[in-house]
Amino acid sequence: MHRKWFLRVAQIPCAAAIALAAGQLSAQTGTISGRVVAEGSGQTIEGAQVYLVGMTLGTRTSANGRYTIANVPAAQYRLRSQMIGYRPIEQAVTVVSGQTVTVDFTMKQQAISLDALVVTGTAGTARNREVGNSISQIDLTAVQPPANVGALLQGRSAGMTVMPSSAGAGSGSMIRLRGNVSVAMSNQPLVYVDGVRIRSDGYQRNVPPTGSDLRSGNDIASPLNDINPNDIERVEVIKGAAASTLYGTEAAAGVIQIFTKRGMTGAAQWTVDISQGFAQALPFGPDESEAPPSDTIWACAVVTPCSGTMQAYRDSFPDRFDGLPTRGVSRAGGSSKYLFIDPWLRNGYQQRYTVSLGGGGEALKYYVSGTTTDEEGVLPKDKEQKKVVRGNFSFTPISNLLFSWNTSYTKNAIANTAAGNNAHGLTLNAFRRDRNYASNDRPEIVELMLNQELTSDIDHLITGGTANWSPSVNFTNKFTVGFDLAQIENRNLRPFGFILAPTGIISSRRNSYQNLTFDYSGSFVQALRSGLRGTLSWGGQWVTTDNRATSAYGENFPGPGKPIVSSGGTTLGFEERTRVINGGFFGQVLLDVKDRYFLTVGGRVDGNSAFGENFGLQYYPRASFSWVASEESFWPTWSSAMKFRVAYGQSGRAPGAFDAVRTWENATNGWGGQPAFFPRNVGNPDLGPERTTELEIGFDAAFFNDRLSSDVTWYKRDISDALFNVRQIPSFGFLESQLANVGKMKSDGVEATATYTLFERPSYGLSIGGSMHLYSSEVVSLGGAAAFSLGNFGWIMEGQPIPVIRTDFCVTNPEAKGAAPVISSDVEDCTFGPNLPTETYGVHTNLRLPYNISVVARGEYNGGHYISDGAANAATSRSVRWPGCYEFYTLTETGRASEIKAIDTARCVVAGTRADYWIYPADFFKVRELSINVPIPQRLLRGARSGTFTLSGHNIWKWVNDDFKTFDPETGNNGGFDSRVRSILEHVPPPAVYSAVLRLTF
């Protein structure tokens, strides 16, 4: 019923578009068609924009490089083809009424697109050559995207770190642009979709609002993943304050702007994508053969006589052990290679279907799409069913006014398996084998943990309209209004009779996150004298963020059945509401000398409702300079493009809604149901935003006839007035830390990318490339505050990275063999290193074979950082025979104690083990993507214009350092990707994903 209603509504704009397009047929028109190929290789180019210069008529090439522009009024035109990565090209064309004229383009690859338009971080729109900061433009037109945006962005830009958290269905990814800029506030960059700001932090974790906050799947979903990757045309990434000044307070962590596909004038083009695949967990423990002689089942097998329940179990269920090694397995048949959870792991079937339609007439253009995704996770209850519909429309009522309205709606139903550090969960109880909370590793017992039901229903609407009005060629205005409404309903049920909560517990939580954006920018261009042009830009932005949460909790059900909260003998209710307003204005002047030298000076003034009552407005200046040296007469011809750039800017990060005010709160549930005040926040009337100042210097260059392209950026950040959680003196009663603008931090780094075309022939070609990001950070001053912990052994300490991994106790002779561990509590001894990678290297290669078959491989190394493994400690301290200690057990049991490292003794001897000893260096390399793309020959396409078939695998192989005996450095904790300090808890690491995709265009 609802679906029919929806389809009818969806038909309205399509019908309108078709009617308008049909209206054009009556005019005296002709058609332009042709094909766009790359010079040298002759490879067809998909997604190139082909349009009539000075008009809005145009289209994009399909997968076979062909295009058609219909209903072109008979006349003479300049026809232009452009595509990121290629030099734009124009040809004259004469359209004759009733005829079709063929215009083919051969485009030359261009490593640096100096005239490509940039939107993000600029006042209005700017050409690449005018921009003094580095900006990553990721063109996704021809990319066969993975299932979510997080995976799509992995390894795409130097300086951008994208890390998932677990194998859980719907799991989001942490994104860092040039590391951390804040220790108290979010470090996720701002995310804009077609100019509309959306929530970038995670959704509420599915956990009861009271009681233990661990009874969950312990991961969080990301609103970013509600966007359909197939709808994305390109992504722009600006990585710091030097570029993000015009976004003001909140933008210090950088900005990611997503541009979705738009319809182009011409015949309607249908695109159908069919994707089938599966997710598969990679091993994350030692091989069974490494298990010690005392390992339970092996011992049972070799000890004579073998007796007791172990032997009885083996005799009763021989199939569970058939073919398995005798060591390193659980009674459920799980192996140490998967920390004994493999009986419950599966190859999660994943399917996705996308249909899109783009086209339109001169007045109205449209792009509509619909996607349905059905993905199983590797854990038995994990499932994500997502549906996304999008409608992008642009309307040109008069020649100098363009309205566009883009809307997407996502409905996502996620089911999760209870995981993470959850004593009622599958992962924890499987990992700990017979020393789990059921004291039993038989499968029929462990499986009882699956009775916990965790479901999350997400509704996400992103809608916004933009009006571009150009009263004259040198005066432009852009006004955007946008609304982002992301809602999640989490239900968490342990039913009546649940093994560890026999009378049952249920919670239902609804979180609503709203962002309302008003954004205006205007610019006026004036030629000042010969070769000198000035552009004055101005504008303002108003963003209201409104977060609301209501939740209900019930426990003690009267009996079996499908309960609701009201079924509980005890029920409780909770509510939270916060609203934050940020408003600001900016002005900017750009001086353009000879189209080669560009100087930009500007600034922004901001107010924010979270600032303290004594704090006024905040001013953020910016300046940048770029020089297109390659257009100088003296520049050597072997360098086809060279732009030097330098940028300076500031932006900020505001405190939270309540941080400035001294408050008390009713303690959770009061006291025995009666209200009870607890001190909450000391308050700080002087509280303001932290201010990040960034300087970056770099160049974008191309050499040897564009065979080699490269960009290099050095940056330096200073974060003043940093918001630190200043710990309060406990004997003064307020136990919560208070934010204060007391800190100073700094970071610097170098980003570099290079791509080299080894050879480019009509039937084959090969290019290789790499990227590098070297990063260091330091807390310069705590402003007199004491060093403080962010949890998970992450600390903020003077002279150390942001944050540094530090423990209370540590082993000072970790590698000493046969020696007792020497334990120190000295802070210097027990300070390890940063929690975020300091070195990131990416490699990629693109091999093109005959028939335009292409093979793409991308890999990424992250290193220099440390992570705590809380799961290993929780197990060993409970005397679990932990696979991470297999070497220790074996050496102990075989009389080779002299070979045992002191660190292993500290970790594996139960009496002395502490979480402090389980810190690893977290270096790893992963193959992010290996894919082969095969164009389908035209003769096999019946009725389709073009087709491609792609086989791909993501994160299919990994290397970790020798210390990493269990889990994976990308395994997260209970906080998911929002966790301020990454650490490992009882999760299955992110899996490999394999897919086969068929794309057809009609």
Partner: protein, 428 residues
Amino acid sequence: MRNIGRLCSVLLFAGAVSCDTEVTNPGPVQDEFLNDRNAAAAMVNGAGRALSQGINWIGYTGAAVAREIHPAGSTGSFGITQKWQNGDLTTDDSDVSTHWEQAQRARWVAEETIRRMEAAGPPPTGAPAAERTAYFNQLQLAYLWAGFSNRLLGENMCDCVIDGSAILPQATYFTRAESLFTKAIAITGGTAATIAAQATAATGGRAAVRVFLNKWTEAVTDAGQVPIAFVFNMPYFNIGNDDQRNRIAYAVANTPYRAHTQWNTWHYNYRQATGDPRVPITITNLQGDAAIECCGRVNFWPQAKHPLSQSPIRLTSGREMRLIEAEAKLRNNDLAGAMVSINLVRTNAGTTTVAAATITEAWTLLKRERGIELWLEARRLGDLRRWKAANTPGALDPLESVGAAAHLTQQDLCFPIGRSERETNPNL
């Protein structure tokens, strides 16, 4: 076109001049609102809850180190860490900061509540009588929470710090408690029965702290005013919130924790020998929720004194007063008098009487009797430390002393100043 431009300009101007980023969000209560007399009840409740949490943490961990309970597995949530299992409350261990913080908050909130209530003053004379009596009832209760918070700190913390001070004499906690209890006793104007019961509780509390102040005469005088049947409890609640649950009870509620046991405790042996109802223990065929290093998987025989998450914990009682009287008599070498007092307690508790031939034997019985009577009430560490400092006669059971029998490699008898206090308090 010009009209559109004008319209846009007007709209932009209107938008700019109407910019107001001031927002008041609901939820947390601004500090100044608590100066209102009508906020007093919720503040007193806050002080009570804070104290209940403080007792929860100190009572549980202290019980493990004093071997009122034996570890049975879990080391994380609701568990006993390896260090505590060994009897180690090391200063550098940030885990013990929680105990300090909870107890200090309890003290500060109660004292702040008193300050604000007294600043606001009682309702005017013309106000409804119920309002005036409620005010005095609440004020007296605030004094009680403040007194018992100071007693908790004094009995369990190694050092004294008040409101960010330098280290003060440890007895400061007790002198403050004595003063607070004295003020509580002096309050009138509330509901007669409530005021009387709370004054008796304050008298019992004052007797206990006077023991630590070595004011035995005054302690005995106070104790004498508390009838043997009198009990004043700290309530706990099972309403879905872990912080309000009796932590000792919840840690053995098997949902999923079976973190401690009475296996290998003298309480178990005593219970088996005497059947004393004050030491109830549940015998199960389960084992602890994990293996422990000393002993592997151990029998899960949980205490049943606090059988439920909502089981209260006594703060003072008439039976404790009789034991104060007994100890005072032993100090005066009054063996017979001491045994009479001890046996009054035992008879009242429904168990057999005991006899001692010597003062030393009587001391041993007294120490055991306080261990039985005040079992799992966050009191044992204070007693052990007090007796050790005074070098009193009488032996302790090997199962609560350092050694292989109790699986204790050391036995710290107090909690250190929390690491968080040491790292933030400039006066330390």
